[in-house]
């Protein structure tokens, strides 16, 4: 996709805080769903593998099907 489109996407406000419109038929437990990416981001540095660069570099698989 064109670069400006990607930029537009990154800057789109919906990327971050928008609440999705609940559809009662589809999301029975939508009340329980909150946008809590922040909760994960708060602890993500403890969860992510240390030394990401080396880890990603060394993650080599053989091709499969």
């Amino acid at each position: 996709m064109p670069r400006e489109k990607q930029q537009e996407y990154r800057d789109h406000p919906s990327n971050e805080n928008e609440e999705i419109q609940p559809n009662p038929e589809l999301n029975e437990n939508v009340d329980d769903i909150t946008d809590d990416l922040d909760a994960l981001l708060d602890e993500i540095d403890e969860i992510l593998e240390e030394d990401s660069e080396e880890f990603v570099e060394n993650y080599i698989q053989r091709g499969g099907q």
């Binding site: 928008e18 589809l26 994960l40 992510l48 990603v56 053989r62 091709g63 499969g64």
Partner: protein
């Protein structure tokens, strides 16, 4: 002309051992599969005699070595599961196959049960490693260095449908359904155009429209003709373009809508009307078009977006599925399909609780917004990879699930149930129940046969119809018979 829905998936997992002197994925995969095996039933072989992976649906047989026959390694690398599935070492990956399922919801249950089985294996295998070593298993499809491993779906179809009709009807659907079924990937591979983030893990690896190979020059439509059932009645369509999904909602939608589209092809209401000019180019372009607004040229010069193509398939489903074909679960799949297409049309990012690629994209966007990292930063790729990590405390998808962030199809209890109990309404019931009940009287198993080793010697029971062997048909026999009585009764029926 439609046949009953039967769905199964096969997932190859990525594997890595932290602090290993050198990475040996074959040894690690064998260790993991065997660690689980020792908890299970020993010494039952997989019967490769029933398999013919080199038969081509176009009518010829490809040249290749025969699959391994029975040898000492067979039971080391194979585990037949009491849920009716299979767990084994395929090349350099642990691979899990679900049992045959009659609907999308069961498929989610058994695919997710597979994730638990892999994680239990990991824990058991780690007991055999040095203290500082740790196994990590990823349910993704790439190492970001051009090596892809698959997620395959299998659907039972009527043998009466000529293969070219399947190709024509299915190709436009498969190259566009990734807007719903992609797992998201940072970067590009395999010589495809560079991008920061794309919808699909696998799209970069597809190079031709139709073919038999699954490992090089991968085709959009795979022609493997190995029905694992009565080949006069059935074929097993082997779909290899999909991504491995973490999201229950995504898996449900993926297999649910694909089964419906195949039914429409069987009903002959989808022909060439959606044929695309260049589907191999389209699959890569769709994967890079995060707004889902690009238009693609059909062979008859119409120009449609991926969403519009999917909506055309959905419309045909609404029009042509009969009342009796609309089981509640089919209606539910149709509703979710419609809901997701509407969401993708207005704002794909509104599906950040439903679709893997959007969940992942929003997580990365938020991480970048917080720290200002570039897309090429190794931490971003680590985040992508770790989304698929099967450790409950480290896997980012599981962490989001724990926080109530993702839409679920099942409860945890239902998934746990799937580890040890087969589906009731396919032949997996017969396979799984026999394994539980007569473990010492079974010599070998394949998808469509069991070789019993009772007091009358070896007896092979064929299971050529995947929707037979159900609890309704054979439950009572299995509850009351010894293995010899069972074999006798089936043989004399």
């Amino acid at each position: 002309m439609t046949v009953p829905t039967i769905i199964g998936t096969e997932t190859e997992f990525g594997i890595s051992v932290k602090n290993a002197r050198e990475q040996d994925p074959v040894a690690a995969s064998t260790l993991v599969v065997n660690a689980y095996k020792s908890r299970n039933i020993p010494s039952i072989s997989w019967d490769y005699g029933q398999e013919s992976p080199m038969l081509d649906a176009r009518g010829f047989t490809a040249e290749s070595e025969k699959p391994p026959s029975e040898d000492a390694n067979n039971s080391v690398i194979n585990d037949i599961l009491i849920n009716g599935g299979r767990y084994y070492v395929d090349h350099a990956h642990p691979e899990y196959c679900t049992p045959e399922c009659s609907n999308a919801r069961d498929l989610v249950k058994y695919e997710k049960a597979g994730e638990l089985i892999l994680d239990l294996s990991r824990l058991a295998a780690e007991q055999l490693l040095l203290d500082n070593q740790e196994i990590i298993i990823y349910k993704n499809n790439t190492d970001y260095k051009g090596h892809s491993y698959g997620s395959h779906e299998n659907y039972l179809m009527s043998r009466k449908i000529p293969f070219p009709d399947i190709v024509n009807g299915l190709t436009p659907f498969l190259v566009t359904r990734q807007i719903m079924t992609g797992s998201g990937k940072v970067g590009a591979e395999n010589g495809a155009d560079d991008t920061e983030f794309q919808i699909s893990q696998r799209a970069d690896f597809f190079e031709k429209e139709v073919g038999l190979s699954t490992m090089v020059e991968r085709p959009l439509i795979n022609t493997r003709d190995e029905p694992h059932a009565d080949s006069k009645l059935y074929r097993r369509l082997h779909v290899i373009v999909g991504d491995s999904n973490m999201s229950e909602f995504t898996i449900y939608l993926k297999v649910g809508i694909t089964a419906i589209v195949l039914q429409l092809i069987e009903k002959r209401v989808i022909g060439k009307q959606f044929a695309l000019q260049d589907p191999v180019a389209v699959i890569k372009s769709v994967s890079r078009n995060l707004s889902c607004k690009n238009v693609y040229e059909l062979k008859d010069d119409r120009k449609w977006t991926a969403v519009e193509i999917q909506q055309a398939y959905l419309e045909l489903a609404h029009k042509h599925l009969s009342t009796e074909e609309r089981a509640p679960i089919v209606n539910d799949v149709l509703e979710k399909w419609e809901f997701v297409l509407e969401g993708l049309k207005s704002d794909p990012m509104s599906l950040g609780h439903h679709l893997d690629w959007v969940i992942k994209k929003k997580l990365i966007d938020a991480y970048i917004a917080r720290h200002g990292f570039k897309w090429t930063d190794p931490r971003i790729r680590m985040l992508d990879l770790q989304y698929h990590d099967l450790r409950p405390d480290k896997g980012l998808y599981y962490r989001l699930q724990k926080n109530g962030h993702v839409e679920r199809i099942l409860t945890h209890e239902e998934i746990v149930h799937g580890v040890q109990h087969p589906p009731l309404d396919t032949r997996a019931y017969f396979r799984g129940t026999c394994l539980r009940k007569y473990p010492n009287s079974i010599h070998s198993v394949s998808w469509n046969s069991i070789v019993f080793n009772g007091s009358n010697g070896f007896e092979k029971i064929m299971m050529e119809r995947p929707h037979f062997g159900t609890q309704a048909i054979i439950g009572e026999l299995l509850n009351t018979c010894t293995v010899d009585e069972l074999v006798d009764k089936i043989r004399n029926d």
